[in-house]
Symmetry: D2
Subunit: 135 residues, 4 copies
């Protein structure tokens, strides 16, 4: 139930509009990077966030914990790596790390907890988990 | 068909995250201000952008022209004023101006053209126009 | 050192562009709301985030923990309330809660940890703390 | 003075957070795409938007005209192509087009006018123009 699998990485480059008046990436934008990496990971497993939504199944984030270790600046290259873990009956936990490239400086560590919901109520993510090969 | 009615103003304050590394509001965020003012204007006329979408009627922007006259900075107060005009059979045109407060410095002038669509095809905005008292 | 003072609230309304294709506010935007409330709180105490940056003192968020309890939808009104606490020698902790208005539905609980830095190094937030009356 | 040179293209993929509750990319985000393409183009010519800002030279957009021809949806791939033209003594004009990939559907046509400024005043973009080989 708690296996962790190293499985996915997605590369980005900082866009200038993502930086704020401190000259560094605004904190909220890291959540965008993390979300995009999760959705692209799901797509790589044949799971479309949008198609699921249109079928009535929404993946909802219930908790986010982000450690900001070092800021990214304009045009920095970086990679978002993630692993995934099942927690209890309904929760999926993503562990996500951002590293600057090419020096692998550790930028962000995040734990993102989500549940699958139908009509606003949590449901077992059984089918999803099968597709993710978590069991 | 071309009457212009002075009709609406909405006040804002610049939020720090809307500024970029030049220390001024990022250009794209003015479109957010303009959009929010249009939607609040429609609400003030009893027209919900979201309800319309859920009924299958989407208001789509087809053209935006924005003159940037002077930048806004962190925590500036400003007002978005708008008038609306019908153009031809299917187009509605919003003229929108942003003025800094309290000195009424002219920040942005914009012309935003939109159409009403159902299933991606333009339809007459007749009912909308009636509610907007444009005729 | 650990006193908590109930001290600040700021009201918002959801803007349509802050919602994503699930029809609810995108997770990252709650961080924008929380940041804007913190900065307005500091301003209410005579402390300008931007002026501090221009003086070489940057307030940096080092950790964010957000519990998403219930989503906000288009045009929901809400309030961000915050308290602040000193932790150790260099950390300031903001506890922030978002409640929908007028029904006071609990939307988000967040703990945001920050430090003051000069040239990228943490410094004692002594002067800030004095101005915030935390001691 | 008015030569147009076909010179640059940059590929993107739509990220889910860029879509709004209509399920399509929010209008303001196209300005982000256009800006990022312009900045990456300048970088490809050895011109850093951020370095220029730090040297006191800011490139400022004075006018944006965008025709929205067809919306982009979640995960669409697209390319932003641009040409550049000098207009009068101080203005640079970017013509930018967005095409969906791989079908080359025309999504957006934009004309973006900018000036170089020092301390808020327009200056001749002579050195920039030399580096861009516009003469």
């Amino acid at each position: 139930m708690t296996e962790i699998i190293k499985m996915y990485g997605l590369e980005f480059v900082v866009r200038d509009y993502e930086c704020d008046l401190q000259g560094i990436v605004n904190n909220a934008n890291y959540q965008h990077y993390l979300e995009h990496a999760r959705h692209e990971f799901l797509i790589s497993k044949g799971i479309s966030f949008v198609d699921l939504h249109n079928e009535g199944l929404d993946l909802i984030v219930t908790k986010v914990e982000i450690d900001y270790k070092h800021p990214l600046k304009s045009r920095d290259k970086f990679i978002v790596r993630l692993t995934i873990q099942r927690e209890g009956n309904v929760r999926l936990v993503f562990f996500q790390d951002i590293y600057r490239l090419p020096d692998e400086k550790h930028i962000v560590h995040a734990k993102v907890t989500g549940v699958a919901t139908k009509k606003g109520r949590p449901v077992s993510p059984g089918d999803l988990v099968n597709r993710l090969n978590l069991e």
